[in-house]
Amino acid sequence: MEFPGLINYWIVVVLMMTGFYIVIAHNNLVKKIVGLNIFQVSMFTFYITMAKVKGGTAPILAEGIAQYSNPLPHVLILTAIVVGVATTALGLALVVRIRDAYGTVEDDEIEAQENDR
Amino acid sequence: MEMLLDAVSWLLILIGSAFLVVGGIGIVRLPDVFARMHGAGIIDTVGTCAMLLGLMVQAGFTIVTIKLVLIVVFILFTSPTATHALARAALGGGARPQVADSPADADAGEGDSPSKT
C-alpha cells in the first residue's frame, strides 16, 4: 500500500489516454463511444480516489467510527454514472440513426459519402 | 467455541479459495468452451458457496448472514442458468465440443446433451 502517493493519478491518466486514443484513432462510431466510456470511467476514478481518506470508511454514519471518506465526490459521480449511461444511450441512438442514413458506421466512409454529394 | 467457529470458517474459506483458483486454472487451461464451462462451474458453485459459507460462520446470526444466504441462493439459481444459455448459444452458433476419439460422437450428442444435467 505504501506506494508513491501519486501513482493512482498516473493510472487514471493512462486510462484516460487509452480512452482518448480510441476516440481519435478509431473510425468505428461504436468504438468511439466505448472510448468515451473509458474516458468517463477514468474521470470517475479520479474523483473517487480523491475522496478517499486513509483510515476512513464509507460515509454511512455508524457508532464508533470517527474517520469517513469524503461524501461529496461520491454524490457527484453517482449521478454522473446514471447520466453517463443515459447519454451513452443517446449516442448509440445517433449511431443507429447514422447507420440508417448512410448504411455504415465508419467515420471515413461517411465522410467519403458526404464528399461525393 | 470461538476457536471452533474460527477453525471451521478458516477451513471453508481455504476450500473456497482452493476451488476458486483451481477453477480459474481450468478456465485458462482447458481446450474449448464446453470444457472451460466446467472450470466456471467449479468457481460458481463450490468455490463461491464454500467461501460465502465461511463468511457466514464468521458473521453469526445477523442480517449479514441472511444477505449472504440470499446471495448464495441467487448465484445457485442464476449461474447454472446463464451457463446453460451460453452452452445453447455456443452450440447453436456452431461451436462443437471437442471429443477425444471420434468426431461423430460430437454430432450425436448435439442438441440437448448440455441442457440435461
Partner: protein, 323 residues
C-alpha cells in the same frame, strides 16, 4: 490491494483494441472491476450504481446497437494512429506533470477534505437525521444538482425517442419474426423461462428495497430505478419485446418519465409555498428533521421513477428497432 485492481483495469484498457463484440465483453469486465475499485475506495453508493448500470443496462444497450449496426470493426486506417498517438502522449504527459502538485493518495490534509465535507459529515446526522451522508447530500444539500441530473436523464430519454423512436415500419415482418421467435426462439427454452420467472419478482422487490432503504444504507433512487428497469429488460429479453411493451405500454413509461421529474420539482415548489427556499424540505413537517425525511423520500422516489422510466423507454426503443 487497490493497486492490483488498478493494474487489472489497465490490462483490459490496453487489450481493448479489438473486435467490437469482444470490446463489449471487455467493457463488462471493465465496469465490474471499477465497481470493485469503488468499494475498495469506500464509495459504496457509487459502486452500487456502477453495479446496477454496468452489469445490465450498459451491456444490453451496446449489444442492441451492435445488433442494429455491425459487429465488425473495419481495420484502422493508415497514418492516423501515429498522429493520434503523439497527441495522446502529449496530453498524458501534460496531465501527469499536472498531477505532481496533487495531494498524495488518502492524505487527510488534502484541501478537498476541508471545504464542505466536514460539515456534511458532522452536521447531516442532526440536520437530516439520516445515517447515509451520500443520500442526504444528494437529495438535500445538493438538491439542485440532482434535479439537474434528473432533467438530463429525462432529456436523454426524450432525445432517444426523438431520434429513433418513430413508429416502426414493416410491422408485418416484425410479427413474422415474433412468430419465429415463439416457435424456435429463446422462449422455447424452459429453463431460462422458469428461472427468470422466479428471479423477476426478486429483482423488482430488491429494487424497491434499495429505493426505500437508501436513506440508511447504500442505495437510493438512481440505483433502484436502474435495477427496476433491469427487471423489465430481463422480461423483454426472455419473453418478447412486444409482450413486455404490453406490460409497460410506452404511454405508461413516458408518463412516469415525466411524473418523476414533476414530483422532484413539485416537492421543491411545495417547500417554497410553505415558506422555505426552493428544495428546502425542513418546512414540510413540523419538526425539521421529519420534513427532511419526507422530502428526501419523495425526491428519491421522483428520481427512481424517472430513471426507471427512462431506462425502460430507451431499452424498448432500441429493442423495437427494425433494420
Amino acid at each position: 490491494m487497490s493497486l492490483m485492481v488498478f493494474m487489472a483495469v489497465i490490462g483490459f484498457a490496453v487489450a481493448r483494441l479489438r473486435n467490437l463484440f469482444g470490446v463489449v465483453m471487455l467493457t463488462g469486465i471493465f465496469s465490474l472491476t471499477s465497481a470493485v475499485l469503488y468499494v475498495v475506495l469506500d464509495a459504496v453508493d457509487v459502486a452500487f450504481t456502477e453495479a446496477a448500470v454496468g452489469a445490465g443496462i450498459a451491456t444490453v444497450l451496446m449489444l442492441g446497437t451492435l445488433a442494429l449496426t455491425t459487429s465488425e470493426e473495419k481495420t484502422v486506417s493508415d497514418n492516423k494512429p501515429l498522429l493520434a498517438l503523439l497527441l495522446v502522449t502529449i496530453t498524458g504527459a501534460v496531465l501527469i506533470y499536472g498531477t505532481l502538485d496533487m495531494p498524495y493518495y488518502g492524505d487527510p490534509t488534502a484541501p478537498i477534505h476541508h471545504h464542505v465535507a466536514p460539515r456534511y459529515l458532522m452536521d447531516s446526522a442532526y440536520e437530516t437525521g439520516l445515517p447515509n451522508v451520500v443520500t442526504s447530500v444528494l437529495a438535500s444539500y445538493r438538491g439542485y444538482d440532482t434535479l439537474g441530473e434528473v432533467f438530463v436523464i429525462f432529456t436523454a430519454a426524450a432525445g432517444v425517442l426523438l431520434i429513433i423512436g418513430r413508429p416502426q415500419r414493416g410491422r408485418r415482418r416484425a410479427r413474422r419474426d415474433a412468430q419465429w421467435d415463439i416457435e424456435h426462439g429463446i422462449r422455447k427454452n424452459v429453463i431460462l423461462r422458469v428461472v427468470s420467472k422466479l428471479l423477476l419478482p426478486m429483482i423488482l422487490l430488491f429494487a424497491l428495497y434499495v429505493q426505500w432503504h437508501g436513506d440508511f444504507g447504500p442505495g437510493g433512487g438512481f440505483q433502484a430505478g436502474v435495477i427496476f428497469a433491469s427487471g423489465f429488460i430481463l422480461y423483454a429479453l426472455i419473453f418478447d419485446v412486444d409482450l413486455a411493451r404490453a406490460v409497460v405500454a410506452p404511454r405508461v413509461s413516458r408518463f412516469f418519465l415525466a411524473l418523476g421529474v414533476l414530483l422532484y420539482g413539485g416537492v421543491g415548489v411545495v417547500g417554497a409555498l410553505l415558506g422555505g427556499n426552493y428544495l428546502d424540505y425542513s418546512v414540510l413537517a413540523r419538526v425539521p428533521t421529519d420534513g427532511q425525511h419526507l422530502g428526501i423520500l419523495l425526491v428519491e422516489l421522483g428520481v427512481g421513477l424517472t430513471v426507471a422510466a427512462a431506462m425502460i423507454t430507451i431499452f424498448f426503443t432500441f429493442a423495437s428497432q427494425e433494420r
